[in-house]
Symmetry: C2
């Protein structure tokens, strides 16, 4: 088994300057699974939903090679629900409602079929749950990547650091890197954070792209300048899904290949923001993805020569 | 004659979280001249200083191939002076003092020896003065690039647009692009601005790099992640100087070569911020520049392949 993905499968209600949605399907695990499914034919997801979760989305995930034996469905309980409103610049948002519901007592159970996964993607969840997943694996994966957010830095920094110490790749945004390290310079922040354990650090910068730090190397992936960002929800998870999916599919964790995986993740994220929720990801074609990756190549391609 | 550079030669007093300076030498024209002098052996500058301006800096410029016959020295008057204080994040600053002095009635006189310049760099000045320079050239340059700032958008938008209509390349930052166009999306902003006249638009994004827009093409130049940004003053002018210097030296205004010029400008700007004022630029070596440009190449270099 190649890829194991752990993360929330949830409902979101989103308001952006372009409009608002009722409850739609969201969750880090959902975005990661959809995004990575364009690279890997099979994967496991470990998550939990309530009895109110629509079977149609589960069918959709299954049809894209996502095995659901690690997805618990709690009778009599409700699915995790998040509601948020984006500001006009789309770079910041307010959380309006958070109903943990089934996530409150989530006990991540790893199905036997998912043991032996070579790639583990820990989507944003409490650091204790993320660590439980690692501890419950009979064999350490070849690569563990982890997403988290400022919320856990605010309320559970010690637990978070314990989990971060166990992973290979940490994926966070620039604000979070600054909060976690106490350093404004991202170069200094990256040293501090990699001293906590991860050999690789990815710093997401939204419309400004992403940076990958490893040893003394750094790679800068651009973001595609977009006419319109319709809804940024899930873009970070979609990035993570494309990144881990690309790595799992190629089974190559060299720095050179990580750079490609960063581009793949960036390309997937650039689709995600074009529609509300998972809408765009659900209907993507391989041709669109290939064209988008080509646009990323062209965006940064230059051959340096001396001026004279 | 290859390059003509027009811009302020001035005094600055700067305060950053790292310290503060007394009056030191600054000015867009100074930074542009110093930066471009690493690419072109000769250039003209059109500017004005007061009798208080130190001859040592003029000697320095001359020794770097900057012809000073277009630099007016006003007896009994004082050099332009700007003082500012940067906020902790170094991305924003407050202007503390602006003393226009000799700039208040600056009448840009083009020396005969500077007529026929193929490349014209208009550093930030009032749009009326910038337009006068263009009108006083007997022959239109092969390429006119222009910098400006939000100040002129606030107080002289109509004049500014008249000047912008006459140039080939407009160089502004992301906030200015948004203010000038009224569009938040930089893609939409770039269309609006290029409809005003310039065929090329460069949007500087500070620590996030720069974008070059032309027709349906876009190029994203990264910024080098730096351990410390000591003083951002002059970084934009240094970028412009490297850009125009590279173009003038190679005498090639193809899109492919503009991309290289963007990288050259970015590399020069990355030096500028490492010390207060012009300190770093005054003591740079060609070897350091070559190494820095190589670092930019490595920063974005990847070869895309399919994951499977």
């Amino acid at each position: 088994m190649g890829l194991l993905n752990v993360g929330s499968v949830a409902f979101d209600a989103i308001e952006t300057p372009f409009g608002k949605t009722d409850k739609i399907i969201g969750g880090a695990g959902t975005y990661i699974a959809l995004s990575s499914s364009f690279f890997v034919a099979n994967q496991h997801i470990v998550s939990v939903v309530g009895e109110d979760f629509p079977p149609a989305m589960l069918d959709k995930l299954q049809s894209r090679g996502v095995h659901l034996d690690g997805l618990q469905m709690k009778q009599g309980e409700k699915t995790f629900f998040w509601s948020g409103k984006y500001h006009n610049d789309m770079n910041s948002r307010d959380t309006l409602i958070t109903e943990l519901n089934v996530l409150e007592h989530f006990d991540p159970i790893i199905p036997e079929s998912a043991q032996g996964a070579k790639y583990l993607m820990l989507g944003n969840l409490s650091p204790q749950v993320q660590r439980q997943v690692i501890e419950r694996l009979t064999e350490r994966p070849k690569l563990i990547a982890m997403d988290t957010m400022n919320f856990w830095m605010d309320i559970a920094m010690d637990e978070l650091k314990k989990t971060i110490a166990l992973v290979d790749v940490l994926i966070i945004n620039d604000e979070e890197a600054r909060q976690l390290s106490g350093e404004y310079s991202l170069v200094k922040a990256s040293k501090f954070i990699r001293d906590l354990g991860p050999k690789y650090l990815i710093i997401k910068k939204g419309e400004h792209g992403a940076l990958l730090f490893h040893d003394n190397q750094v790679f800068s992936a651009p973001a595609l300048p977009l006419e319109e960002v319709f809804d940024p929800t899930g873009a970070g998870d979609t990035f993570a899904g494309g990144f881990i999916g690309f790595l799992a599919a190629s089974d190559d964790i060299s720095f050179e290949n990580m750079k490609r995986a960063l581009i793949a993740g960036s390309a997937m994220a650039s689709f995600c923001v074009e529609e509300f929720g998972t809408g765009k990801l659900e209907n993507l074609t391989q041709v669109e993805i290939d064209e988008r990756i080509k646009a990323f190549v062209e965006l940064t391609d230059f051959k340096m020569i001396h001026a004279i």
